[in-house]
Subunit: 148 residues, 2 copies
């Protein structure tokens, strides 16, 4: 059982988000417990999470594939702390102590969307680990070249 803590600024009340998170939390039962911790601002975030070896979700972090994320989660052990920053990103103090700085995408997401993407990726990581069909691998041998 992996214990996950997710710190973020500002609680969101969207019904769709609560329903979606509940769905993934249910699927994660017996695998991961998710503790959502809401704080009011950057100072409260530093106070609450500044000393934890965390994974900071920040636009300047490293981009990962779901497969690499799954490997990392396997190595990070049974206690994981994620930090989602506010509109100004993650405070420097937290970035300095972070065990990893992760960028979900070069796109900017709301923190609601970030919470949903995070939990789906955590669930996906457990399914990749298990080798289930939830995560289908690339069926074709070669990559299509990029176009712009």
């Amino acid at each position: 059982m992996v214990k996950v803590k997710v710190f973020s600024i500002g609680k969101s009340k969207e019904e769709w988000l609560n329903l979606a998170l509940a769905e993934y939390e249910k699927r994660l039962t017996h695998k991961m417990s998710i503790d959502w911790i809401f704080v009011k601002d950057d100072n409260a975030l530093i106070e609450a999470a500044g000393k934890e070896p965390c994974i900071a979700l920040d636009p300047h972090g490293e981009l990962l594939s779901s497969e690499i994320l799954s490997e990392k989660i396997g190595k990070w052990g049974s206690k994981l702390t994620f930090i989602i920053g506010g509109a100004d990103g993650i405070p420097e103090t937290i970035l300095k102590n972070a065990r990893f700085i992760w960028s979900l995408s070069p796109l900017t997401f709301t923190h609601q969307m970030t919470r949903l993407i995070l939990i789906e990726q955590l669930y996906r990581a457990t399914e990749i680990e298990k080798g289930s069909s939830y995560h289908r691998h690339e069926p074709h041998g070669s990559k299509t070249s990029r176009r712009s």
Copy 2:
């Protein structure tokens, strides 16, 4: 008024997704209309959308920031067709005719999540264009270096 068509394989019935999409569609009223078109498989996708100059959402596409996406949407005109592939990605025939191949992230997403990210980014693009506070720009002058 921008007319958006989104083709995808398999309809999803999740309540949270319907609620979330309805919320963004409401916010897009008078700016963009979104027509979700569901087909049953790759052949039906080629049949329905194979001749449209589309934007294909494919893991091998180009990563974009929300700002660049907003610029592109401004240039693409008033009719936009997006195609979300199935578990095997987008059929080659469609990729060949695509006006742009876009990757949301190196992460793998479900097609439900892809629909939600797409509509939020379309809404964000209109807010960036308008210069509203929905999309906050980086307040710090310099980028934090990447760590791994």
